[in-house]
């Protein structure tokens, strides 16, 4: 098992004049996990160093610029901006923001104009041949020229249209001439004397009144032509104003990125004050630093005369949970993603990443052994890692290699099971022992064998952890401890002996190696107490104890059987791979001659489907069959203080 980074507890104290400098150091060093100092230092007169962050306002303006223009601000070099200029930056940003607002308002105004003309055009088009009443070949001007009737022209949401019957006693008429999914288009006629009341009803029904521009005359067709021209002009106007805004933003992009980088650093550093404790004019900061970085960390504080830094081993700090940073080798490192997914180990626990890396790679290779397809997975992994920086890509690289190795041993290349035979024959190897399709029983027995081996290793790891924690119930008496191991191995020997016709067992064997461990598991808690010197005690009533432990022991027995048989899936996938590829080959040969296209598509399909399935199944074995035996998780991640440049402001 690989290990967990050793941590040092850092206790920093100093005068408030140096607080900003200290916060700047811990934000830049990249190795300081900050904790709330108030949780450690107990004092009656302590206060928090948090104040209103002066950099929030300019950052909000930058966020507004981002929203209005759609640009994404990024981290850049801002070393030419001294800290003393921070206040001036706010003014600069304000003037850029004002200019952006003005240009944006112009775009919006032009868009509104375009929008109103577009809507008018849609209405007129509805009039000149839309659904509903069809074409109204009337002069629009004449409709609006009525002396005693007010005419409104527009659309109602369909829900509001359904409510119109509520107003049947009111003196107005809505003439619908078209409808789509959300709106009903039409004219509303009302007597001039009641127009105000009807307008208010229409408003409450979310009636979108569409005003026809003054230049619209004549029939609906004539009006449509006039409006089409206007819509085109408006569209050009909107484009040109958008261009003005985009040009301005482009000119300012570098400046904005620099300002953003500077202000974001100052802002996030300032936010750290929340965890700083003040007693009068003295500040206190606490946190954790990896032991390997502690010397480097100390050096940062050498020039700060009023600041004292005390580094001590983590064991001397009982109040705060120690954060965990996994220390992995290059091969295992990407597999820490799976450990993260399950939950990090506690600081004094083991780091299971190496075990996961080895077992995951081996099991995947066995279940998906194919030289050609493994190569595809390897190449895909390299691409994903290079282009997208996906950790999964790095895992795929390792799985691809494993798949290639086992593919070579099985003689499988893109589904061809005999392609490597000549190579092996030239080396003097007559047959391949791993050739799945010819030895189904061997494959299945092999899979169970692998499962037994992995379960035994998991139990041994759990025992080591139990001894390390001085938890003897866990190490000796539990189903994943010594008692469980003896019981499991003895039972397996008995079964194996039976299958091979060997005379294993006998009454003494059964009593000592099977019954006795079972009794020990049954009594694991009182026995644990006895070893701790607390005496042999049953905490609940004897009846409850027997009932609860009977069912638990029954579950242990079931667990041994199901967990072992669960590994049959390893063999199952070996066979299903060979089976699926034989189907692909048969399909490729079906249409008379050989079809390379079917072969390529079939291979891609098998890689995608089986690769995913095998990946999930192995993860299941890791989490369910192995982690459940020795690993609990629940640790706190080491998160060094950094500046978050991904978001302008949280």
């Amino acid at each position: 098992m690989s290990s967990i980074e050793k941590m040092m507890f850092a206790d920093i104290a100093g005068m408030d004049t140096d607080l900003d400098a200290v916060l700047d150091i811990i934000c830049s060093c990249g190795c300081f996990h900050m904790e709330n100092a108030a949780a450690v230092h107990v004092s009656g007169s302590k206060t928090n160093a948090k104040r209103e962050n002066p950099y929030t306002a300019p950052l909000k303006m930058l966020a507004e610029i981002g929203t209005l223009t759609g640009i994404k601000l990024q981290k850049t070099d801002c070393s030419d901006i001294p800290d003393s200029r921070a206040e001036q930056l706010t003014e600069d940003i304000r003037s850029i923001r004002n200019r952006v607002q003005k240009l944006n308002a112009e775009v919006r105004k032009a868009s509104d104009e375009l929008n109103s003309h577009r809507m008018a055009l849609e209405q007129v088009q509805h009039l000149s041949g839309g659904e509903g009443v069809g074409s109204l070949n009337v002069d629009i001007e004449q409709i609006f020229a009525c002396k005693h009737i007010k005419v409104r022209f527009g659309r109602l949401p369909t829900d509001s249209y359904d409510k119109l019957s509520y107003y049947e006693d009111k003196n107005f008429y809505f003439l619908a001439y078209g409808r789509d999914k959300e709106y009903v288009y039409g004219f509303c006629f009302a007597p001039l004397s009641e127009a105000e009341e009807i307008d208010s009803i229409l408003e409450s029904l979310y009636f979108d009144r569409i005003r026809l521009p003054d230049f619209v005359h004549g029939s609906a067709d004539d009006a449509a032509k006039a409006l089409e021209k206007n819509v085109d002009d408006d569209r050009n106007d909107v484009e040109s104003r958008k261009m003005d805004l985009a040009d301005y933003v482009e000119q300012q992009r570098d400046t904005l990125n620099k300002y953003f980088t500077k202000l974001k650093k100052l802002h996030d550093t300032f936010e750290l004050r929340e965890k700083v404790m003040m007693i009068r004019d003295k500040f206190y900061i606490v946190g954790f630093v990896p032991e390997k970085d502690s010397e480097r960390f100390k050096k940062y504080f050498e020039d700060l005369k009023t600041v004292s830094l005390v580094m001590k081993p983590c064991d001397e700090n009982g109040e705060i949970e120690i954060p965990v940073k996994l220390k992995n080798n290059k091969f295992a490192e990407p597999f820490s993603m799976f450990v993260d997914l399950y939950g990090l180990p506690a600081y004094n626990d083991i780091n299971p990443t190496n075990f996961v890396a080895i077992t995951y790679t081996l099991l995947f290779g066995i279940m998906f052994g194919d030289l050609g397809q493994g190569l595809v997975i390897l190449l895909l992994g390299i691409l994903l890692w290079k282009w997208k920086k996906m950790t999964l890509g790095r895992i795929m690289e390792r799985l691809g290699v494993s798949s290639m190795i086992f593919g070579t041993l099985c003689g499988s290349v893109f589904g061809y099971e005999e392609l490597l035979d000549p190579m092996y024959e030239s080396l003097g190897i007559g047959f391949l022992p791993f050739k799945a399709i010819h030895s189904i029983n061997n494959v299945l027995y092999g899979a169970i064998g692998i499962g037994i081996f992995i379960i035994i290793i998991s139990v041994i790891v759990n025992m080591i952890m139990g001894f390390k924690e001085k938890n003897y119930t866990r190490a000796l008496f539990s189903n994943n401890g010594l008692a469980g191991l003896v019981f499991y191995c003895s039972l397996l020997m008995l079964l194996l002996g039976g299958m091979l016709g060997l005379n294993v067992g006998g009454p003494v064997y059964v009593v000592c190696l099977i019954v006795l461990p079972l009794i020990v598991m049954f009594l694991r808690e009182p026995l644990g107490d006895l070893l701790k010197g607390k005496g042999f005690h049953i905490h609940e009533s004897v009846g409850d104890f027997i009932a609860a432990n009977f069912f638990e022991c029954f579950e242990f027995l079931l667990g041994y059987a199901t967990n072992t048989l669960s590994f049959v899936r390893v063999g199952g996938f070996v066979l299903s791979h060979a089976g699926m590829m034989s189907v692909v080959l048969a399909l490729a040969n079906m249409s008379g001659g050989f079809s390379p296209l079917v072969m390529i598509l079939g291979n891609l399909f098998v890689i995608a489907l089986e690769g995913l399935l095998v990946g999930i199944q192995v993860l299941r074995l890791e989490f369910y069959e192995m982690f459940s035996r020795y690993y609990t998780g629940g640790g706190k991640a080491f998160k060094p203080v950094t500046v978050n440049y991904d978001e302008i402001i949280e």
Binding site: A63, E64, T67, S111, N115, M119, P157, D159, S160, D162, K163, S165, Y166, D180, K181, E182, Y183, S204, Y206, D208, E647
Partner: protein
């Protein structure tokens, strides 16, 4: 109510999977941040249409020119549309349990109608969920037209609400209607009907749904009694008379103790020792604002129940509850934008 088929014992795994798939598309923190940074209602509507699951509900809607009220109606309607999508996905059919959403709507509309009758205003039509009209047991449009209590009784004549409503008919024509008493009766009817309807599921599903529904009633009672104590300093008898007589996590005796607190401070002190008080404190919610804290706690409960359950009725109920909360969140943001509230103030009202 229609009783097409019983979904009590059916395997509805596909519906459960469908709900989980839809839940996966719910608004994330970045969506809320983006909505909060919108400067106009049409911007927010545009964002919802372009980037979220609400694109389906807003399909065909002109978001550039949308009215705030219309957008809110469309969002509320989307809850109903999703509800019926789930009902129809495996043809669950409607029964006492799966009809709960319709019953809830009916009761809400009856109560709004009574408020309008008492106030003498006739603008019930503006907020009327007309899209529910084809599912309700009475005509909603007729309800909005009701001029007096007799009209209300006539409209609800063939429904279970009639027997409840006729008890409260004012003695004089046009007399004041006892809204709080009717509300209590109707809400109690709803809570008991719902609790009764889950019995057919049996086993764990029945137990968990009963717990969940009962806890919701508990929390509604706590919020209402706290309001009465804080704003009207009502006495224990007055409060108890207005509360739904259903108890789940806090026994009746303990609730009585809450109601008899001297003032709101003592109420909170006693509340902090109850199951909900302890849970809220443990989750780190603000005890000074028990209303918001309980709403957040209810949300957490729903989220947990939905994520852990594979039982269709439980998922169905919690899924709709979560969908309602999400729509309320969006409506709060839209209102905030419309009335130019500071972003921080709006975000404090968002439940995530």
């Amino acid at each position: 109510m229609n009783k097409n088929s019983s979904a009590g014992s059916r395997n509805l795994n596909a519906t459960v999977a469908k709900m989980h798939a839809i839940y996966g598309k719910r608004l994330k923190q970045e969506d809320y941040s983006a909505l909060l940074s919108c400067t106009s209602v049409s911007d927010a509507a545009g964002y919802l249409k372009r980037n979220t699951y609400y694109s389906r509900a807003l399909d065909g809607v002109d978001t550039d020119n949308i009215h705030r009220g219309n957008l809110e109606d469309i969002l509320r309607r989307s809850i109903m549309e999703n509800y019926f999508r789930m009902i129809n996905f495996e043809k669950i059919g409607r029964d006492d349990f799966y009809d709960y959403f319709i019953v809830k709507t009916e009761i809400d509309e009856i109560l709004i109608c009574i408020l309008h009758l008492n106030a003498g205003t006739g603008d019930h039509i503006n907020t009327l969920p007309i899209y529910m009209n084809k599912y309700t047991s009475f005509n909603l449009l007729e309800l909005a037209k009701a001029q007096d209590y007799d009209d209300l009784l006539a409209i609800t004549k063939k429904t279970p609400y009639y027997d409840i409503l006729k008890e409260f008919k004012p003695e004089e024509e046009g007399g004041h209607i006892d809204y709080p008493a009717i509300e209590l009766k109707l809400r109690t009817y709803y809570a008991k009907r719902l609790t009764e309807s889950v019995k057919k599921f049996g086993g764990e599903t029945e137990k968990r749904l009963k717990n969940y529904i009962g806890a919701q009633t508990d929390m509604i009672n706590i919020i209402n009694s706290y309001r009465m104590k804080r704003y009207f300093n009502a006495d224990a008898a007055e409060i108890k008379a207005r509360m739904i007589p259903v108890y789940m996590r806090i026994p009746e005796k303990k609730m009585d103790e809450l109601y008899s607190a001297r003032d709101d401070k003592e109420f909170l002190e006693r509340f902090s020792k109850t199951y909900y008080g302890r849970e809220i404190a443990e989750k780190g919610f603000d005890m000074k604002d028990p209303e918001m804290s309980l709403i957040q706690f209810r949300f957490l409960q729903a989220k947990r129940a939905f994520s852990r359950s594979t039982s269709a009725p439980e998922c169905f109920y919690t899924f709709n509850h979560l969908a309602e909360i999400e729509v309320k969140n969006i409506i709060r943001i839209i209102e905030g934008i419309r009335y130019s509230l500071p972003t921080k103030e709006i975000s404090e009202l968002i439940i995530t």
